[in-house]
Every structure is written in C-alpha cells, then in structure tokens.
C-alpha cells in the first residue's frame, strides 16, 4: 500500500496532521482499557500506579472465586436464553416487516425499533414496574425478557437487510416442489439468512453479557457479572477486579472481532 488512493488535490500536507489526530484518538479509545489489563498484573493489594512488581496471582484467585464463577454462569445463561428468544421474535418481525404492502408497516417498524431509542434506564424502570405489577417479579426471567426485547430490533434489522437481497423466486420454487410455507422457509430462507442470524446472535449475546442498567433494575439476589463488577468497584479497588475485568474484556473483544469479520465476509459475497 503505497499511500492514500483517493486524496483530493492540494491536500498532501493534510494527511499528516489528520493521521496524527487519528492515532491520538485510537490511543484515547484503547489506553484506558490497557490500564485495566496492566493493573490486573500488579503485585500489590491496592490498585494504582506506578506498578513495580508483577504477578499472575489475581487470575489464579479469580478462577477460584466462587462468586465470580456464579455470576459468570448466570450471565452466560441469561445471554444464551435471551438471544434464543430474541432470534425467534427478531426473525419473525423481520419476515413480517419485509412485506412491502403491509397495513401500517411504518407504525409496526417504529414499534419494533423502539428499544433502540428508549434510553436504557427508562426501559429498565418501565420493565421493573411491569414485572412487579404482573407478578413476574425480578430475577432471571425479568432480565431475560429485557435483554431479548432489546436484541429483537438488532436481529430484525440485520435479518431484514439480508432478506431484501434474497431472490423472491427461491421460496416459490420450494413451494412448487411441495414444501408447505413453513418448511419452505426453514429449508430455503433460513440457510440464506444464516450469516445475518449468526452475526445478530453474537452481538445480542455480547450486549446481554455486557448489559448493566437493565440487569441492575431487574435482578433479585443473584448478580450478573457487570453487577458484580459494579458492586466491587464500591467495596475497594483491588487488582482482582482488574483481573476479572480483563478476562471479560479479552473474551468480549475476541468474540466481537470474530463476529465483525464473519458478518463482513458473508455480506461481501
């Protein structure tokens, strides 16, 4: 790569300072998280710089920390179930919304996308009041519902984008060959939609796994992982917290990069 290909004339000098700004911005975005990683290797009871001695003991502690393991399992369970539910209803909404001449399509589209614009704290509180007044109560079910409701628009939008590029005669052919509408959908549309659904599912799981505000208002006694980290931030800053955060951070980023690459490679095809 010899240099920028689409440079406008008379702008040769501008590359350097814009590039420098970009580098500064990358540092601004990534340095804070690097601090968390650094801190997790500090061989001292208290967090803070400078770090003089290093250790991996905090990681050993973390994998023996029952509270952490419980929160991790709880968060994973919620993420998986919420994503499964979100996939079913997100896909269902996408199929419905991809009909161009649907009655009140605009209204329905807005309703499906509503969770994207309602601030997290508002939807968390609305759901808290809702689960209390309907008798569902706080706990895993409430959190799963909140996360599924949040992931439906993401999955629906991704599936709709993919559906719009599907040749319409594919489903008709399947029908002509004797499949009923449901079976035709499962065997023809579903494989075609798979890249969008896998991408949507990964992002939905990540957003559920990372969610703090909804779980904070809807959890009963068991904390999810972000709630555990949050409460430990108040009970003294120990590097063990940095070790836990680093593990979460690394797994999140690896999965995120994988999903990003996956979705892009499939969409490019």
């Amino acid at each position: 790569m010899s240099g920028p290909l689409n440079r406008a004339p008379g702008q040769a000098g501008a590359v350097s300072w814009l590039g420098a700004l970009y580098v500064a911005f990358v540092l601004y975005m990534l340095l804070p998280l690097t601090m968390v990683v650094l801190m997790s290797f500090k061989d001292h009871k208290f967090m803070g710089f400078p770090v003089t001695r290093w250790t991996t003991q905090w990681y050993v502690d973390a994998i023996h920390d029952q509270e952490f393991l419980n929160a991790l399992a709880y968060s994973l369970m919620i993420a998986v179930i919420a994503t499964a539910i979100g996939l079913v209803f997100g896909l269902w909404s996408a199929v419905l919304l991809s009909r161009r001449k649907l009655f009140m399509r605009g209204v329905l589209f807005a309703l499906v996308c509503m969770p994207l614009v309602v601030p997290g704290i508002v939807s968390a509180i609305a759901l808290r009041i809702f689960v209390e007044s309907t008798g569902i109560g706080t706990g895993a079910v409430a959190i799963i519902i909140a996360h599924a409701a949040h992931s439906v628009p993401f999955i629906a939008l991704m599936a709709m984008t993919r559906l719009s590029s599907m040749p319409p005669n594919l489903l008709e052919s399947a029908r002509d060959l004797g499949a009923d509408p449901f079976v035709a959908f499962i065997r023809v549309a579903l494989p075609y939609l798979m890249p969008a659904l896998i991408g949507g599912a990964i992002f939905s799981m990540l957003s559920s796994f990372d969610d703090f505000i909804r779980a904070f208002f809807l959890a009963s006694f068991s904390p999810t992982l972000p709630i555990l980290i949050f409460s430990r931030l108040f009970t003294g800053l120990s590097p063990s917290l940095a070790a836990i955060s680093t593990m979460v951070l690394v797994v999140t980023i690896v999965i995120g990069i994988f999903a990003e690459r996956f979705v892009r490679s499939k969409n490019a095809r």
Partner: protein, 329 residues
Amino acid sequence: MTDMKSDGVAAPATMPPTGRGRRHWAAALQQNAVYAALSRVVLAHPRVAAMLVVGIPVLWVVVWNVLPLIGMLRISFLDEYPARITQGPGVTIEHYLSLFTELAAYRPFLRTMGFALAVVLVNFIVALPIAYFLAKRVPRNWQIRLLILVTVPSWVSEVIRAFSQILLLASNGAINITLQWSGVTSKPIQFLYNWFAVGGGTIYVTVLFMLVPLYAAIEKIPNQVLEAASDLGASKLQRFFRVTLPLIRDGIATGAVLVFLVSTGIYTVPVLLSGPDTNLFAQVIAAQFYESNLAWPRGAAYSVAMFATALLIAALLNYLIRPKRKFRS
C-alpha cells in the same frame, strides 16, 4: 405419504433428499401426521395464517415495548403505589409538578439536558476530523479496519469502561503519575468526581455514536465534488464549510440525535465518576427506586419527563440540522 396429497397441497409431498443422503428434519416434519394436520388447517384458513405471521410479532412488541411504557405512564399519575386496597389510588400530577418546584429535581434535570447538548457538541468536534480522515484519507480497503479498531472498546461493558476511566484519572492513576513523574506537578490533581470525569467518561462511551454516522456521510461524498471545489479556487476552509459540511448534515443529525438520547439517560458513568455537584438526572430517577415503593410514582414521572423532554430536544436537533426534504437530491 399419500394422505398428504389431500386438500390444496400440491403433489408431490416430499422434498428432494438433501445432498448428504440424510433427510432434512424439516422434510421429516412435513411427513409427521400431527404437523401435516396442523399445516392443512392453517393453509385452509388464511385468517389463521395471517394471525400467526402478524399476530406473534405484534403481540411481542406490544407486550414488551408498549405495555411497560403505558404502565409507567399510569403509575406516574398515582398518589400512592402500591394502591390502597379499599379506595384505590388517587390521581395526581404532583410528581410532575415537583420537577418545577424541587431544587433537588429540577437542577439535575436542567443540568442533564445542558450536559447532553454539550456532549453532542464536543463529540461532533472530536469525531469530525477522525471521520474525515477515515473516509477520505485512507485507502478503501483499510477504512473499515481502522474504524473497527476504534469501535473495539464499545463492545466492552459500560461498567468496565467507566472503571478504566477511574484507573486513568484517580489520584494515583495513569495521568497523575505521568504528570508527577515528568515534573509538571508535584502533587496529584483532582480529576475524578467532577465535570472533567463525568464529561470525559460520557464522551468516551458515546463518541462512536457520532463517529460512525459522520463517517458514513463523508464517505458518500464523491471525490469529484471535493476536487471540483478545489479546482474552482475554494480554499481548504471554504471547501469544508461550503461543500463538505452542507453535504453531511444528514449524518450530523443522526449522530446528534443518537448521542443526545444516549447521554441524557446515561447512568453508569455518573454513578461511578460524578461528585455531589455533578449528579445527573438518571441518578435522581434511580434513587426513587431504592428508597421504597412509595417513591415509584415519582420515579416513573421523572422517567417519563426525562424521556419526553429528550425526545423533544432530539426532534428539535434533528429538525434544525437535517436538510429539509425538498432540497435533498
């Protein structure tokens, strides 16, 4: 298999076998007697089919997206919650009025709205050169990679991102230690628990909501347009203000609306990074839910008021920034 050939279902009733030689489970499903009967009923009654296709997503959306908001709106007008069993609750607007009369409510409320507007502005100033660089100064095949590099932190939980800001800003944090080590200051500077921390933390969490729409908008400007402007003698500044900026108003509007809505409702960052004089309205709302059930109507009213105001201001921003439709190409 012949029983499938009844009614309106066209023959043949079997799908061709899959390539691997095993029958697809959905093909087996179509052979199942119970499923076949159900399928016949649904296909014979278009109303039932429509109910399935339309009804289920509509039901989902109404139950989980609409009803909770209506419930919150209802409770915000009650004078007591849970309601008295004998007389039922009274209706009142005192919770909304308290937003105008109580210092502890209206001050954080106004502060939050002003804060969110400031965050929009700063994010715009920060994100614009970065977006321009990515869209116009980087080879196409590198644009997405470099964009993803800066979006990586956004996949990480907000709690961890706020925590990372503490490590940066604390009195023994990275910035203070660097400043002291390099001899700029002799004792730590208070960065945490003030506007610097809350503002910085909020921008850290929201800047990508501005960067991505700006990038998409700038990327869409044809290079020839920019070249034409330069050829016609526009200076860099003239070209920026008279060509680039008017062409990306759509992107600016989208970014401004997103950033404004997210930063009015932001909770994790102020809880962890703000001091007593910089608390934001989301914290006031949350406090109503930790006192007792009695404060829920007030918390609900505050949520409704915050969301409604945020939507109004976001709509206003959108109206002011986005070009009017008739002028759009």
